[in-house]
Amino acid sequence: MITERDLEAAQAVFHRLTASIEEVIVGHAEIVRAALIALLCKGNLILEGVPGLGKTLLVRTIAASLGLKFSRIQFTPDLMPADIVGTDIITEESGHRRFTFSPGPVFANVVLADEINRATPKTQSALLEAMEERTVTVGTSTYPLEEPYIVLATQNPIEMEGTYPLPEAQIDRFLFKASVRFPTLDELVEITVRNTEGEGIRLPDPTATANDILTARQVVREIPIAEALRDYVARLLLATHPTSAHAPPRVAEYVEYGASPRAALSLILGAKAHAFLLGAVNVRREDIRDLFHAALAHRIVLNFKGEAEGVAVDDLLDDVWEHVPDHA
């Protein structure tokens, strides 16, 4: 049972964690929050943005602040699954040879899958089990991953030549998809200052432990959400399906597949974590609203007409939000 002290301690930890990350990362507060929410929800995060926006630095900073084991995988077309999950190798010990499992980079607490869409689908799929079940199976052996565990993937929306878009099954396993926007003028100036003067960027010291994260996860799951808001989330989700009677006209016209039930879980859990990070003790409607795009955008598949006409999924989600009434 969560006590008042647990609640206050967990909130204090994440306040410190947020502050230490923001000392390194200029701007991108919503990205930092999304990453922490994914961490609190046992989820994974995919960051999408052009090169040079600080995606890798962000992931490294989060890992450093948490004091967790960090690994980075640079996805390339020739990357093989064994390069990620590890493989059995022959070792000799006391004159005896035997196979010993050599863990891959996936065995860490924070895994950065950089430019994940450059690897082949076969290699991308090597992450599926790790992301969802938090286990890795090699041969006949299954190895658990250490908690807290989070995969932070990045992908480049341009330079699509030679890339392999993530299959729907894999992209659905990411709790959120966050678009890393280009920094504003002030943020850009600040970035230049921090990187070109003094000692340059220095990763923060750890401000939280794995136990703090696990405790905070328990607190988040205890945060209440009203039944009416659950119902609201379900109605929002159904409205993204083109065949649903609640779907807005543009969704019915341009969407091939709507969001999966996993999206509802992501939205509700994420809303709880969002409320926790903001110091609230219950889920509010604005928690759902703030995470609505991040939780659903990557789960909606446009049809040919939508793709041909360049329809933005975020616009469709705005339609859904406006279309679905607050109260049943």
Binding site: M1, I2, T3, E4, D6, L7, E222, I223, P224, I225, A226, E227, A228, L229, D231, A280, V281, N282, V283, R284, R285, E286, D326, H327, A328
Partner: protein
């Protein structure tokens, strides 16, 4: 004071149930009151007799529906979480109440509950504003009450004239004979058809005797409905009347009683005249109370309208003329009336409407109608002289497409000139609504030699089928002419029950076209 969330929930649920009940009640009341309003409108338009106790039946369903709706609405469990979220949104509580309700549903204690209670405690004081009595409830209730009031008010509103309603016009079309075939005074030619049921009139039992002496309808105005005619006859609205079948025997009985009443009045007038003549010159010439009562009694029993005026003048306490003059005039009028009755129907008490002889103008109009109808049949007429070979007015069809009318009465009925409605105010099928009237008229056209002009020009004449005519072969190039046996015609018509007035019409017709010649 600690925040009692359970009591708060009960209050919210109770108010929500009440609002739900009111909502359903207002809708049910609106619908049923509209139904009641429509019912009243239909009842009034159809002129169904309306009793005031029916107002209770009108008001009862909306009230009952409202009560049932309220009960049903209250029985339905509201979704408390949604209600609380609505209160949260209204009061700006960030889903605090609904989240608190969620925590209350859990069995385990939670650290968030106390914090939430602290946050919402002060804000819920005005929670009722989040669940207001909606405008729809007010509008529904208002509409329901207005519907009931309108329905009740409509029940008291007098009906507009029947002619204002289009379907009355349709009724007139079906009730009245075809205007093309209907003479101006069609009731003079009317006689009960063999095929139609006994005539039925709309009269109260008390008014039967009075209406027997009512004036003839004369030419019915085409924008008058049967109801209007009956109202003129009886002085009663249709919904105040009862259906009384009247047979010809009843009519004769009524006419006989009216005749006796008139004779009684005549005798009373004569006695008054004699008394006034014997009275001393110094006595003022005025009626005694007994005489006035007797006259008033006879007046109430019903006398012809032209005599009513004189009787009223006599009963007037300050007449413009002397009593002797009025009495003399009345006696003369009664004499004229009796003589007219003898001329029309032998004074056998036939209703005035059926016993009246048509005047010459009416005969002319009928002749025009007959001429037009016969002209239509002219092309189809074959050898007409062969059709009268049997001379008994029976079936005479010889394959020329013309129907045998079977007699004058049938002819009249088939031509639609018989309308039982016009016969003493009777009601029943007839006229143009009878499909029989669509058949060919029972007249054929013959070319015969008349006596018009010095040389005896050939004229086209129309001979009623079945009328016995005697063919007279011409000499040389002259065509065949015919001769009519009037006595035989009259005997045939009487055998067939044609009224005397109608027989006169036939005679006048032939007199007219032959100018008294053969």
């Amino acid at each position: 004071m600690p925040f009692d969330f359970s009591r708060f929930l009960l209050a919210v649920e109770s108010r929500a149930r009440a609002l739900r009940g009111l909502s359903i009640a207002s809708r049910a009341m609106t619908c049923t009151s509209l139904a009641a309003l429509v019912s009243v409108v239909v009842i009034r338009l159809l002129r169904v007799p309306f009793a005031y106790w029916m107002l209770i039946l009108l008001a009862l369903p909306p009230v009952a529906a409202a009560l049932i709706g309220f009960t049903v609405g209250r029985r339905r469990h509201p979704r408390v979480s949604h209600l609380l979220l609505r209160i949260d949104d209204t009061l700006g509580l960030d889903a605090g109440l609904s989240s608190l309700y969620e925590l209350r549903q859990r069995t385990t204690a939670s650290v968030f509950r106390q914090r939430l209670e602290r946050e919402v405690r002060d804000a819920v004081a005005t929670w009722q504003s989040a669940l207001p009595v909606g405008r729809r409830i007010y509008l529904g209730g208002f509409a329901g009450i207005c519907g009931i009031a309108l329905a009740v008010g409509l029940a008291f509103v007098p009906l507009p004239p029947a002619a204002a309603f289009p379907f009355d016009a349709l009724d007139r079309v079906s009730e009245q004979p075809s205007p093309d075939l209907l003479p101006a005074d069609s009731d003079s030619f009317s006689t009960p058809s063999q095929d139609v049921p006994p005539p039925v009139t709309i009269k109260t039992e008390d008014e039967v005797a009075a209406t027997a002496g009512a004036p003839s309808l004369g030419s019915p105005e085409r924008d008058h409905t049967l109801d209007d005619v009956m109202r003129d006859l009886t002085g009663l609205a249709p919904d105040e009347a009862v259906l009384v079948p009247v047979s010809p025997d009843d009519i004769e009985e009524l006419a006989r009683s009216q005749g006796e009443a008139m004779r009684a009045v005549a005798e009373l007038l004569e006695s008054i005249r004699d008394r006034l003549a014997d009275a001393a010159p110094t006595d003022p010439p005025q009626l005694t109370e007994e005489e006035m009562e007797a006259l008033q009694r006879e007046l109430d029993h019903g006398v012809p309208p032209d005599l009513q005026q004189g009787l009223n003048e006599l009963l007037d306490p300050s007449p413009t003329r002397s009593v002797e003059e009025i009495v003399e005039d009345l006696i003369d009028q009664f004499g004229d009336e009796e003589e007219r009755d003898r001329d029309d129907g032998g004074g056998e008490g036939l209703p005035q409407s059926t016993a009246m002889s048509p005047d010459q103008e009416q005969i002319d109009e009928l002749m025009d109608e007959l001429g037009r109808a016969s002209a239509d049949a002219e092309e189809e007429a074959g050898e007409g002289t062969e059709r009268q070979s049997d001379g008994d007015g029976g079936p005479a069809g010889d394959g020329d497409g013309l129907e045998s009318p079977g007699g004058p009465s049938d002819v009249a009925g088939e031509r639609g000139i018989e309308d039982p409605d016009q016969l003493g105010g009777t009601d029943g099928p007839g006229g143009s609504s009878d499909p029989e009237s669509e058949r060919e008229p029972g007249f054929i056209r013959e070319t015969v030699q008349g006596n018009i002009g010095a040389e005896g020009d050939y004229v086209s004449e129309f001979v009623t089928e079945g009328v016995p005519i005697e063919l007279v072969p011409g000499s040389g190039d002259e065509e065949v002419s015919f001769r009519l046996d009037y006595d035989r015609i009259v005997s045939i018509l009487r055998e067939r029950g044609v009224p005397e007035g109608a027989i006169d019409i036939v005679r006048n017709y032939f007199n007219e076209i032959t100018e008294g010649g053969p």
